[in-house]
Amino acid sequence: MEFKFTWKWLVIAVLLIAALIFPLFADEFMVSILMQAYLWAFLAMSWDVIGGYGGQFSLGHAAFIALGAYTSTILLESYGISPWIGMWAAGLVAGAAGALVGFASLRLRGPFFALGTIAFAELVKLLLLYFKGITGGPLGILITKSGPEYMLFESQAHYYYLMFALMIAGLLFLKWFEASKFGIGLVAIREDEEAAEGVGINVYRTKVIGAAISAFLTGIGGTIYAQWIHFIRPDIIVKLEYSTQIAAIDVVGGAGTPYGGLIGALILVPLSLYLNAIFGGMIAGLSLILYGVVLLVVVVMVPGGIYGLVRRKWMSRGKGGK
């Protein structure tokens, strides 16, 4: 037992150090890819709260990225408020919208909920285009400030560490969340709604709050995304492709687990970036097709995702050893 304990922490320490010194040895391109994987891992973990633990398959999370990105960027460019503060406002705005989606989940089940969230994302896009005075309409907003006090950095390496910290925070949050009272309640509802009510869980409230938490985190991710890309526009953020990518990453990695988002992102993000670099100009909607196919294959062949597969193998090996 003790051996296993130290062995586990040794692996974690080695991985941590490897990740931290990675930018010192790798070129900018590699750093950029891994950095994006961390960002998407965080977004997938945020999705996981409602999509994995809650079992509500949202395909509208790009809307929460956008709401977060716009909130902090408007605060930054129009009011000079640093995104270090603005990201919390971003989370709150996205979280409030998430609560609305949570209300929808009380009525809409399964595929109908997924369709509802797609419609919700389209609505958010239309609103962002409509309120030109605040959002810049189809032209979007360019971030003109600079300096770390505004969460703006010179090199990709800085962003790498920012995204890494974000991803680790997401991971720790989910570790805590899944063992928390609220987390157990949310999973109980996913597993059996009637029985959940039967042990005293307020199903309506839990679903709405679960969606709000998921959206809150995604909104914070939206701020970080905007700070990295320096430029936001409705049509480049509120894309079905992004919503699908978030869900696909989590499902491939292992939905409803703290590690699913990271595993999925480390595989899918580099893959899609390479594929887009090679074929991007030639085939429109390629990554959407990629995610569609990958999602289908995983759902049919490896339910539980890669993490679930590894864990099952691991556990059956452990049993065989005894």
Binding site: E194, E197, V199
Partner: protein, 241 residues
């Protein structure tokens, strides 16, 4: 303790419960029997808030609880099990039972909930399965886990829906003894729906017979089992005591 008054529940044209009235006294074990489709589970669903009755009222400790949502009824101190067990499949057995302690009447903290859950798991002799995923349990274990889960909400009144159906005779007698002990030693009040006559008749203080959504008979196990109406309802099967 519990009073059901003239409850009517319809599903479209079908009258599932037709002016059913029933009272349960504190620390009593009431057996609720009746042929298939006589409305036993419907009555449970009305008491625990899963169905809203068209007419009639339900009182618990003198307060009306008709149509309250199920999670609020749990917090008043009424818990139930389901005819077909409803485990939270991908939670462990311990987490299943802990959820009830955390969300139930006591609203226990995680540490307290763990203790409460372990106590009840020990009571139903499922402690060694605590860290197993609930979906891996067999039917008997699922039923016992549901019992432990319902108990962990901290109820005074417990509604058991066909707890021993599907168990072999020796398992059945074990569980039946466990249920009786809850009344005698832990002071619970229990309503028990059961098809297995032997189980109900041997442990109930009183038996209530439903037939086609209405009361057919009520009384001690001996009285009920001799009642000609009851015998007829069960197609002439003599009921063993």
């Amino acid at each position: 303790m519990l009073e059901v008054k003239d409850v009517v529940k319809r599903f479209g044209g079908l009258v599932a419960l037709n002016k059913v009235s029933l009272t349960v006294k504190q620390n009593e074990l009431l057996g609720l029997i009746g042929p298939n489709g006589s409305g036993k589970t419907t009555l449970f669903n009305v008491i625990t808030g899963y169905y809203k009755p068209e007419e009639g009222k339900v009182f618990y400790r003198g307060e009306e609880i008709t149509g309250l949502r199920p999670h609020l009824i749990v917090k008043r101190g009424i818990a139930r099990t389901f005819q077909i067990p409803k485990p939270f499949g991908r939670l462990t057995v311990l987490e299943n039972v802990m959820s009830a302690a955390m969300y139930g009447r006591k609203a226990a903290s995680r540490t307290e909930a763990r203790e409460i859950a372990m106590d009840w798991l020990e009571y139903v002799r499922l402690k060694d399965k605590a860290d197993v995923e609930a979906k891996a349990l067999n039917i008997v274990e699922r039923k016992l886990m549901e019992l432990a889960r319902a108990l962990s909400t901290g109820p005074d009144l417990l509604l058991l829906d066909e707890l021993v159906a599907g168990l072999n005779p020796s398992e059945m007698m074990d569980v039946v003894k466990l249920v009786r002990k809850l009344v005698d030693e832990r002071g619970l009040t229990i309503i028990m729906v059961e098809h297995v006559m032997k189980a109900v008749m041997s442990i109930s203080d009183r038996v209530f017979v439903l037939h086609r959504g209405a009361k057919l008979a009520e009384g001690s196990p001996q009285e009920v089992s001799r009642d000609p109406k009851v015998i007829e309802a069960y197609l002439g099967e003599p009921i063993q005591v």
